[in-house]
Amino acid sequence: MYESSEQIEVPSDRDVETQVLELERGLAAPPAPDPQARGRRRPWGRGGARRAGSVDVSGSNVLRGFLGGTQAAELRAEAITAWFGDRKVLDRVSLTMPAGQVTALIGPSGCGKSTFLRILNRMHELIPSASLAGQVVLDGQDIYAPGQRVTDARKKIGMVFQKPNPFPAMSIYENTVAALDLTGTKASREERDFLVEESLKKASLWDEVKDRLHQPGGGLSGGQQQRLCIARAMALTPEILLMDEPASALDPSSTRRIEETIADLRGEVTIVIVTHNMQQAHRISDQCAFFLAEHNAPGVIVEYGDTEAIFSNPRDQRTDDYVNGRFG
């Protein structure tokens, strides 16, 4: 973004000299601290922190995701067919998940929603008997194309599981930035500190845990653990966040907090959520896809579209029956 000065175009509504100065600051490593930031700086805590002014913010790998506004990208599944052994569980499922929106996958148990979700970040292939056909396109590139690294796809497409699963041997702090060490991403302490607060704030957990960050992550309540998992998935600023029934193991008030968190993340990341809770799908999603597997047949998308339309005016009788609780 700051590699060459040719890229600089000056918007009309800003003072040219300020622009150039600020850009040079971005170019320079380390950049001089912003005068405003200096004014707001708090007294340093003990623990030997270097001044954040020495952080090369613009050249930092971990902070790159925070430079360019929204990271959200469109995810497009094209004609996904999936098998477990000889059993076909999905048949030519295509779905476009628009950037920055929340897409809910609904449908009765065993209709292939979770399989579809796991195909979206290549977790499907962890099961030895599993195979698939079709494409998953992110940023104009099929993540299943030869030469595409599975770890790269998963870095861009985060996932939150049904059961909260913070790493038991790690503290809240370590859990939040676990992705750094796990993916071998170098980060200074200042960058880690920033990521911890930023990610926990995104998961609306910061205020509850900021004074006990070094306690084990397993000591939190179920709902807090799940939000810790959201923070952990958000730390490397993924473009997509997949959620597999993230609130089904939680009580109603924790569920509400998770839903609020999802609402906060809307726009920042593309969210795909599997849920069995019809009201939840209605409350939180922009788009809705109804999956169904007829008896002894693979799962398909019966209907998809705007959530409002799916719930108020579905085209298919089966969708109507399902969203109104008449079967499933």
């Binding site: 973004m1 600089i8 175009e9 918007p11 600051r25 971005g26 950049p31 601290p33 912003d34 405003q36 930031a37 700086r41 708090r42 007294p43 340093w44 805590g45 003990r46 623990g47 954040a52 952080v55 913010v57 902070l63 925070f66 430079l67 360019g68 929204t70 970040n121 962890l126 770890t151 796809a153 998963r154 870095k155 985060g158 599981f161 699963n165 790493f167 038991p168 041997a169 503290s171 676990a178 992705a179 060490d181 796990l182 993916t183 302490r189 200042e190 500190d193 920033f194 911890v196 607060e197 930023e198 900021k210 004074d211 006990r212 960050l213 070094h214 306690q215 084990p216 998992c229 490397l236």
Partner: protein, 428 residues
Amino acid sequence: MTTRMTDEMVPAPRTPETGSGAGTFTPRDELPPLLHEPERVRTRPPLLERLGLPLGSIAAAVALGLMLGPVLGIIGFGWVPVTAFFWMLVTYIALTRLTENGPAVKDRFVGVLLASAGMIVVALLALVIGFVGWRALKIVGSLRLSFFTTDMGLTGPLSPLKEGGALHAIVGTLEQIGIALVITIPLGIATALFLNEIGGRYARLVRTVVEAMTALPSVVAGLFIYASVILLFTKQFNGFAAALAITVLMLPIMIRSADVVLRLVPGNLREAGLALGAGQWAVVRMVVLPTVRSGLTTAIILATAHGIGETAPVLLTSGVTSNLNWNPFNGPQISLPLAALEFIKSPQPDMKTRGFAVAALLLLLVLVLFVVARLLGGQQAGEITDRQRRRRATQSVRDMSRIESNHAEIAAHLAALRGSDPTQGASR
């Protein structure tokens, strides 16, 4: 429902029929204030009843056993405990039947059998340790530090107890088990990881082989090393060969225990790591292994306990000597269990006493190793002591301001850069 009840009155229980149609009730509103705590009812039987029956049965059984055995001479002395045990069961069940019905009697019967099994195990262990300790006590009178600092090289069979010591055996045991652990721990954990994290048909074969190896007689392991290392290469007894023989016996124990522990790691932890974009090795190193640290410690303890007491393979590979030998690669080197065996084989009572002292020392050494291992690695992942909790709390509060200021600083930088980014306006 229209009349407001005063707090002193106890509201009559109401049913929906007496109310005004199909409404709901809010029972707390009509509850009088709590003036006295309700009297507590204990559902457990009183202490006398719980302890009286078993203790009475045991007393009756012991009395009968003693009467039939030593007093009347009807049964041999060895049969006294057996008779007493069965009589205790009979008395206890008969007495229970007086007040309880069928299922409860069965529960008590099985309960007594299980508790007895536990007691027999504890009693056997206590008997072994007590016997060794009691026989070793004789040396305490003449015990001095020299027992730990001298060998038996200059001590004849008729020398008094205060002469000679077990230093040569202590050194031998520590060196041999040390070398064995250096080989066993990495190889064992690596094999267990292979069985769990990679798997496949070859892994199933390896698992079967490992299971078969646990049944390998120790003397066979000793002979194997004797034939493959001593006869072929070293041409003489040495401690390293003994360590190798012990390793052959420790490895299957280590692999099997580590395998069981690794299998208990929830699959969703591995998935969570992989879903973050990690490689498999990173997940193993940073998620799986830290999670099972306590279990792996137990595996190491089990393997050590198995290996440290091995006698036959050491006899076949390292030989018997009365002299101290620091070099495990050259010349015979005795270990504690082998030394105990050699001492106890001797006809002199003082030598026998030395044997029991060495055995007691071995028990003590194992105990120390266990305590150290538990202290170092015994903590379950995610469980912390109160002291750690307090220290982490202090640390958390201390670091909070650092984190917040670092965050504010970087956030301000980012805001400045974003504000100045010309492409930003277009992409937004």
